[in-house]
């Protein structure tokens, strides 16, 4: 009496005249009064069409964003040296798992406390998530589970960003402890200020899909870590020299970037938060277009610039350019006209080409370029919202950037410092030299030597 899959007994039970739910374009007009209506949720399908569409949007775009976890894993595996590749794979699958755990135990309700704040509009409530019974999930215009899933993968993204910057020189477990705090407290607290209808939202701050809330947050946490952790051994010479350490695999880095690009349609498109009306469906579509164009512009600008400045195209900069374009448009992927998206994303590419070497000059060792891509382009994207979105104000935007930046940087710094002076962050020099795969994972990424030299 359980599942009878397909063909058997899946019938159409009734024909009814239809009552339908209506929701005006959410993201744009979120001030619309929340008039929960008691519709008969099992009797009439169409009565819940909007609900189903919105839920479907969260699920579909949610799995696209989940897929970004694989994108970060591949990008980072490609950009670290062979001896640290297995470690990077381990960190990425672990952080995605930890983020899910923490966002269930603490994060979600802290980020979206409703009216239930510990400190009003600043720190949300502290409560694990429980899923309502599927049949009685009528409180919002979508299923609670789909929303949790969609928001959780955003939280995981934030942690992925940190992983790349600190690669090749951080021990596994201290990193994962940081991820626990980041995904359980730091990310949801700052997130509640805006998406949880906290004080930044009250001020009129605008960050559609998270240039600041997700990307800069990851970037600030990474920057704090990079400062406390120091550069990889040998990266900077005593005489101001910068020693590049090319990554192990360009095709993996490229694959990772394509995965991220694909996932970003979910990241930005799903942030419309609703699909079930002409206006929302069109908005999601426009977001897809703008998202794509910003990324394309980022690639082209980075390619042309590296060709002109260095005489050759730098593939890793082109990949970073795509991501910087995507981060730049993330704060406002709906309002811009296409040509504006091209400019916004293109400037993301410019930022990458200039700030990657700049960080090296400052001796901040960012293995994969996450700080330029996520932090700098994230700030740019957030400020430029005021250009295309009439409701946004550049001062307010800057306030949001600064407030979240200060909070995330300081709190991350404290956590990193605590870890550094207790269990320690760095492996020994010898372990770092030998590679973290050997020291911490016990298997090399490509363990074979001599084709067939393993037993028979």
């Amino acid at each position: 009496m359980n599942e009878i899959r397909s063909k058997i007994g899946l019938g159409i039970a009734a024909v009814t005249v239809l009552a339908v739910t209506v929701a005006p374009g959410y993201a744009q007009e979120a001030a619309a009064p929340a008039a929960a209506v008691a519709v008969d949720k099992t009797a009439a399908t169409a009565a819940n069409v909007d609900y189903v569409f919105n839920t479907l949007l969260f699920l579909m775009t949610g799995f696209l964003v989940m897929w970004m976890a694989a994108g970060f894993a591949m990008l980072e595996a490609g950009l670290v040296r062979t001896k640290n590749v297995a470690m990077q794979c381990t960190k990425n699958i672990a952080l995605y798992s930890v983020a899910g755990m923490m966002f269930w135990l603490v994060g979600y309700n802290m980020m979206y406390p409703g009216d239930d704040w510990i400190v009003a509009d600043t720190i949300g409530k502290f409560l694990p998530v429980t899923m309502p019974d599927p049949g009685s999930d009528v409180a919002n215009g979508y299923s609670t589970g789909s929303d949790w899933f969609f928001q959780m993968v955003f939280c995981a993204t934030t942690a992925s960003i940190v992983s790349g910057t600190l690669a090749e020189r951080i021990k596994l477990w201290p990193f994962l402890i940081f991820v626990v705090v980041l995904t359980g407290l730091i990310y949801p607290i700052q997130g509640s200020w805006e998406w949880g209808a906290g004080w930044l939202d009250d001020m009129g701050f605008s960050d559609f899909a998270g240039s600041t809330l997700v990307h800069s947050t990851g970037g600030w946490a990474a920057l704090a870590g990079a400062l406390l952790l120091g550069a990889r051994a040998g990266k900077y010479g005593p005489d101001g020299a910068v020693n590049p350490m090319p990554g192990s695999s360009m095709p993996l880095a490229t694959l990772g970037t394509f995965i991220l690009w694909l996932g970003w349609f979910g990241f930005n498109g799903g942030s419309q938060l609703a699909l079930g009306s002409l206006e929302n469906a069109s908005a999601v579509s426009k977001i897809f277009v703008n998202t794509n164009m910003a990324a394309a512009a980022g690639v082209i600008v980075a390619m042309v610039m590296t060709q002109v400045i260095y005489g050759k195209v730098d593939l890793t900069m082109a990949l970073n350019g795509a991501l910087a374009g995507l981060v730049s448009i993330t704060a406002e992927p709906l309002a811009p006209a296409i040509w504006q998206s091209v400019i916004i994303g293109g400037i993301g590419g410019v930022i990458v080409v200039f700030t990657v070497p700049l960080l090296d000059k400052l001796r901040v060792d960012d293995v994969v370029g996450a700080i330029p891509v996520h932090l700098f382009a994230g700030i740019w994207g957030t400020l430029i919202v005021a250009w295309t979105n009439g409701d946004a104000n550049v001062i307010v935007q800057a306030t949001g950037v600064a407030a979240i930046g200060a909070f995330v940087f300081v709190s991350s710094f404290v956590v990193w410092a605590f870890l550094k002076f207790t269990i320690g962050l760095r492996p020994t020099l010898e372990e770092e030299t030998d590679g973290l795969d050997k020291a911490e994972i016990g298997i090399e990424a490509y363990p074979e030597f001599g084709q067939g030299s393993q037993r028979i």
Binding site: F449, G450, Q451, G452, S453, Q454, R455, I456
Partner: protein, 112 residues
């Protein structure tokens, strides 16, 4: 001192290593190589066109031994590496004039 160079089938590496260690020789260097000999490689077809895979995967073992132990070492390597099949490999012995241990600067047999 003598340098014993053995080209062997890859899956024999572990046996050869053990045989040499049993002899008290506690150092060696191995390299992934490809070889060509009586065992000739083979022809493959890739996308409809034939091509020769001339070289087969082999492992090269290099071990520097005191001259007095060269014959013994050669013998155990031959025994350990042997399958009796074509392509089993070769062992070459050549002279080494000087050896230095990088860490200590010790020289010659003391450095082995």
């Amino acid at each position: 001192m003598k340098l014993l160079t053995a080209i062997i089938k890859p899956f024999k590496l572990e046996e050869v290593r053990t045989a040499l260690t049993d002899l008290g020789l506690e150092g060696m260097t191995v390299t992934e190589v490809k070889g060509y000999g009586r065992q000739k490689g083979h022809t493959e077809i890739y996308r409809g066109a034939e091509y020769a895979v001339s070289f087969l995967p082999k492992i090269k073992i290099e071990v520097v031994v005191p001259a007095a132990q060269a014959d013994k070492a050669l013998e155990v390597v031959q025994t350990a590496a042997r399958t009796g099949q074509i392509g089993d490999g070769k062992i070459f012995i050549s002279p080494i004039e000087r050896t230095v241990r990088v860490r200590t600067g010790e020289s010659d047999e003391a450095a082995l």
